[in-house]
């Protein structure tokens, strides 16, 4: 298979190739992540967009090897600075998690231990990876809290998670994530559980930190507005597959895959002052256990041709900046 590569991948920190993650249900293997390839560039933001159940979170969890049976990575490679993470021992992997690749979870309400003080929890991450005394780590925790915009951090470090609002808790999680200067930060729907007014602040904070630390940000979201504002590269996922991959400008201005185009049509365009009717995509994403034959999107696709039912299209480069997994598009490009 022709591995699609993003343009200008001068300095790739994390490279995922043909990642397949399966869950075993009643003796049958069901693919949750299907041959996903990604390349995170240093200091850039890569977004994974897709509906619920499209495999976004599963991809992230696979990268960090956080999966628990019966879910497992079946094949593929995850290279962090050339080293295959899937080949590491669990012990070595624990050293990578949090220190080199950190993760910010979706739900800040439950991602913090309710019975431990905030400062202690951040210090705990530091102490897991750095040779630090408790006093040093807690001192650093206060600095981190200040950096992520928690007011009066000395006092707040002594508080428990339930003393914090949702936005503040997410700041705490971010402080914890950046505590060991990771090179990759995975943010899984970091603003979904937050008030709209707080979302922008958290996104700005993540963006600032990325620029400041030159870390790569892998942003998982279903919000195209967030993608447009934050991302450099975008991968669109559907039914466990990456169906289109491009830089953000190309994706928004010249989407090729019918699914991407449909997604963009059903996003609200605020600049459009006409009372435009939102166009939903007919049907629902397939159950991973009952994936349609051929292209997984063909039952909902407006452009489907008979061959779509047969051929599972590979992700192929259609230009220097764009890869698409759609035989209709690929054929049209070949004809042109």
């Amino acid at each position: 298979m022709d591995v699609p590569r993003l343009p200008e991948f001068d300095d790739v920190v994390l490279e995922v190739k043909d990642l397949v993650t399966v869950v075993t249900v009643a003796g049958k293997e069901v693919r949750l992540v299907d041959r996903v390839s990604l390349a995170l560039r240093r200091g850039h933001t890569t977004a994974i967009v897709g509906e619920s159940g499209s495999g976004k979170t599963m991809t992230a969890m696979s990268l960090l090897r956080l999966l628990e049976p019966p879910v497992r990575v079946a094949s593929g490679t995850v290279r962090y600075l050339g080293q295959d993470l899937l080949a590491l021992t669990e012990r070595q992997m624990a050293d990578v998690r949090g220190a080199r690749i950190a993760m910010v979870f979706q739900d800040p309400l439950t991602s913090l231990n309710p019975v431990l003080r905030i400062g202690f929890q951040i210090a705990e991450t530091l102490r897991a990876h750095r040779k630090m005394t408790r006093a040093e780590a807690e001192h650093r925790a206060v600095e981190l809290l200040r950096r992520v915009g928690v007011p009066d951090p000395e006092t707040r470090a002594m508080d428990y998670p339930h003393h914090f609002s949702g936005g503040m808790r997410q700041r705490v999680l971010i402080a914890s994530a950046i505590s060991c200067d990771p090179e990759v930060i995975i943010a899984d729907e970091p603003t979904t559980a937050l008030d709209v007014t707080v979302q922008a602040k958290i996104l700005h904070l993540l963006d600032d930190l990325r620029q400041e630390t030159k870390a790569s940000l892998l942003l998982i979201t279903h919000d195209l507005g967030v993608v447009a504002a934050m991302a450099d590269d975008v991968a669109v996922m559907y039914a466990g597959r990456v169906v289109e991959q491009a830089d953000v400008d190309t994706l928004f201005h010249a989407p090729r895959h019918p699914y991407t185009r449909a997604l963009l049509t059903c996003a609200i365009n605020l600049e459009d002052d006409r009372h435009s009717v939102l166009e939903p995509i007919p049907g629902a994403p397939p159950d991973p256990a009952q994936r349609p034959s051929g292209c997984p999107f063909h039952p909902r696709c407006p452009d489907a041709v008979p061959d779509c039912r047969r051929i599972d299209p590979p992700l192929e480069a259609v230009s220097r900046r764009q890869s698409v997994a759609c035989i209709v598009v690929q054929r049209a490009m070949a004809d042109a």
């Binding site: 309710p114 019975v115 897991a128 807690e138 925790a141 006092t155 428990y160 003393h163």
Partner: protein, 308 residues
Amino acid sequence: MQPDTAHAGTRSENRFRAESGAPALTAASRRGWRIAAFARDRAAFAAALFLLLIAGLALLAPFISPYDPAAADNLLRYAPPGTAGHLLGTDAQGRDMLSRLFWGGRVSLTVGVVPVMLASAVGLLLGLLAGTAGGWTDQVIMRTLDVLFAFPMVLLAIAIAGVLRPGLWTEIIAIAVVLIPYVGRLARTATLSVASMPFIEAARAAGATRTALLLRYVTPGVLPPLLVYATTLIGLMIVVGSGLSFLGLGVQPPASDWGAMVSEGRVVLRRAPHATVLPGLVIVVVSLAFSFLGDGLRDALDPRSRRR
């Protein structure tokens, strides 16, 4: 969210507020602060003081008992409380009730506390193991405990105590074995519920090893409910221990615990009710105190329940 009111009392102990870069307050102050929270709970605090007093009296029994607890005075039987020289009267054999209560406390408290501690340690280990390992390990441990569970608590204790030679240690071992399934099951349930919390996954994603997760994240979440449960069990086990003595499977005469005193006094209930009622009251009050202590500990250990 009311951080200001909720934490007005803790500001002075803020170990994060060290300008020198060396936060001074450590585990000791954290403990001190929890004790302070606990002391605010009047009932629990009173219960703790009361239990300390009782334990002190039992411990000092050889020095403060006015009489030998086994010395019978045949001329002064059934003496009611208030009799000169015998503050709480004497029993059917003319033995001093006060001295017997002091000495009986040593046995009763030992039988209440030691088996619960043993069972808690074993139960915690088994519960953690079953809850985190899952699969076969879990099945083997839990099904074994289920077998123990199937027997009524006291009946099993009687069986164990009956097989071994009656005595204090037999009683302790019998009660400990009986309690292991109860504690183990609680520990396993608590382990499962804590282990499935998203913050555990978050901690894993932050690089915590399995051992660190177990020791620093799961166990601290399992300990508070276990401690609370154990505390209430102590009260209950004093009663169960008394029951075993009552049946003659515990400490042997002339040594006795509070339960044995109730048992002996029962025969002369009409003639000298105090010989039964006094040790019975002591059992009730001490058991209640352990319950209050358990409730207070639960509130003090859970930071979310602190609302004052």
